[in-house]
């Protein structure tokens, strides 16, 4: 049983690598970088939304805090690259630990409202604390230090180099997420999603596991935030805005909830859409809003379901044609 599974995951890995190699040619390299960054954050959200069944509407809190933490470390202390990434992930995890502790006290609707509420709170703080964050103007002059491993030091001064670096980071985090999802922890999380009462009855401390998932997602978002700040050398206020939270939810949703590859598909779809549409029209939130309404009303399973449906329709037509030919 293990062998075909392994073969399949090798096939998936090969497909993913091919996708990563083709992406910077399909879209502008900067957009390709952004896609992987958001895929990282959305992957974290997928763990809590897709696998644990808790819709967080506040992932930009951790994305933004990570971006500010990493950015401030880079601007004021000139820390090395990996220290900034670790700092951002830590900031995201710590904030998620505190906020998550409060939010998971209530499940369902309340959880969503609380994550959204805390997101807005940190947005207001970032907006008003201009001395630290630059407020509406953003935190500028974030450097992009070289990637140093032992004696080797690779400068990331071009977009293509940065793309390769971000892609490698993504693959490492993807492998880690795959491990988490397939581990006993991942099984417990899915059990909590399916039947919280039963998981609790069996003896699992559901609040503890929900909290762990929330903290992991916070770390992913925080790390993605640091990468985002280094992308243009600025941490914009948008990084912590609820629109960014909505973007992430939408990525997970259109990618297909609870599918490991969903966030990649969702991030690619959304960023590609925004790239194509923003040439025609500057008002991105309108497009996002309309897309959300359409997906929710007509395409609830996301792109994966759309694909399956399209394939089903093609197969049905082919079958009908075959039947027609036979009758004739």
């Amino acid at each position: 049983m293990a062998r075909p599974g392994r073969q399949r995951s090798l096939r998936h890995l090969a497909a993913l690598l091919a996708f990563a190699a083709a992406l910077p040619f399909a879209v502008r390299p900067v957009v390709a970088v952004e896609i992987w960054i958001f895929a990282i954050a959305a992957m974290g959200l997928n763990l809590i939304f897709g696998y644990t069944g808790m819709l967080s509407f506040g992932q930009a809190t951790f994305f933004g805090l990570g971006a500010y933490a990493g950015g401030l470390l880079l601007v004021h202390f000139q820390v090395p690259l990996f220290a900034a990434l670790a700092g951002g992930a830590l900031a995201g995890a710590l904030a998620a630990a505190a906020i998550g502790y409060l939010c998971i006290q209530r499940a369902g609707t309340y959880f969503i409202m609380l994550t959204f509420g805390f997101n807005q709170m940190f947005y207001f703080i970032a907006y008003k604390w201009t001395a630290l964050t630059g407020g509406d103007d953003g935190l500028p002059n974030v450097p992009r230090p070289p990637a140093t491993l032992g004696a080797a030091s690779i400068p990331l001064n071009t977009t293509v180099r940065y793309y390769i670096f971000v892609t490698v980071v993504f693959f490492v985090l993807f492998a880690a997420m795959q491990r988490i999802v397939e581990s006993p922890l991942g099984m417990i999380l899915q059990a909590i999603r399916e039947r919280p009462e039963r998981a609790a009855a069996v003896g699992y401390n559901t609040k503890l596991y929900r909290w762990i998932a929330f903290v992991i997602a916070g770390a992913y978002a925080g790390l993605a935030g640091v990468l985002y700040g280094m992308m243009f050398g600025i941490v914009p206020l948008d990084a912590i805005s609820f629109i960014t939270s909505g973007d992430m939810v939408f990525m997970v949703l259109i990618g297909g909830v609870g599918n490991l590859y969903g966030p990649i598909l969702g991030a690619t779809g959304l960023k590609w859409l925004s790239e194509v549409v923003s040439v025609l029209w500057k008002r991105w939130p309108m497009i996002l809003g309309a897309a959300l309404v359409i997906v929710v009303l007509f395409l609830r399973g996301g792109l994966v379901e759309a694909w399956v449906r399209a394939r089903g329709a093609v197969a049905a037509r082919r079958a009908a044609r075959g039947a027609g030919a036979e009758a004739a």
């Binding site: 209530r106 309340y110 805390f118 807005q120 709170m121 809003g289 309404v293």
Partner: protein, 287 residues
Amino acid sequence: MNLPLFVGAILNGLATGGIYALMGVGLSVILGLLNLPNFAHGALYAVGAYLCYAAAAGPFGFWAGIVAATLGVAALGGLIELLGVRRLYGSHPDYVLLLTFGLSLMLTEVIILVWGPIGITFQPPPILAGGVDLGVTVYPKYRLAILAATLLLVLATWLFLERTRYGAIIRAGIEDRDMASALGINIRRVFTVAFAAGAGLAGLGGALMVPVRGLLPAMGSDILPFAFVVVVLGGLGSLPGAILAGMLVGVVQSVMTVIWAPGADASVFALMSLGIAVLPQGLLGKR
């Protein structure tokens, strides 16, 4: 701190608190009945404000604006329920939430398209312009009027829900949707009416705030988290809880503005965090 400033802050807090309470009651009814957080509630508040602004330019002035905002937004809420939310009953509540979030983004964009992205200031009607000497402090007449109006509205909403037959039906729906339906109540129609009424209250709240805070396309997403705090703090489905929490949030925010302005908004969320930690059911919640 000097007394006049403090009294002014508390009155300000009660006036905005009244608006928060209106928003909270509407949200709470929708949340209790449909078990969904209406993310479009803030945008409906903003649409109410802009409708009021548009209608106030007409022959009947600000008063027509208030009526237009209430009825217009109530109609919009009813439409959203009929054409969108209704189609999603029975599917996971997360989808309804995403629908209302998408609608809120679209409504905000429509406001920007029609009225532009820049804030607009608006003067209160002449009758309510100027201030009143309260002894300790001179206070703007219009804010006193808001305070009185919201107190009356909150009271009227409470009387409607507690003392009328239709209010009893709505409360029955909140308590047990299936049982109410089994007793022959057309629960679908109740949903539509409740959604429209909650939206109307939000639109009215937006209209009342126009002379105080002016107009800004983002005003909806600015107030929405506070409305959420009110509902969480008040307790699910508890209307008196929402009213009490609304007033409390308004006063805390306003008094903190005087003490330490940068922390005013954050203090509201600190209050909510404390509330969840100490009273997870909310101030007056039962569930």
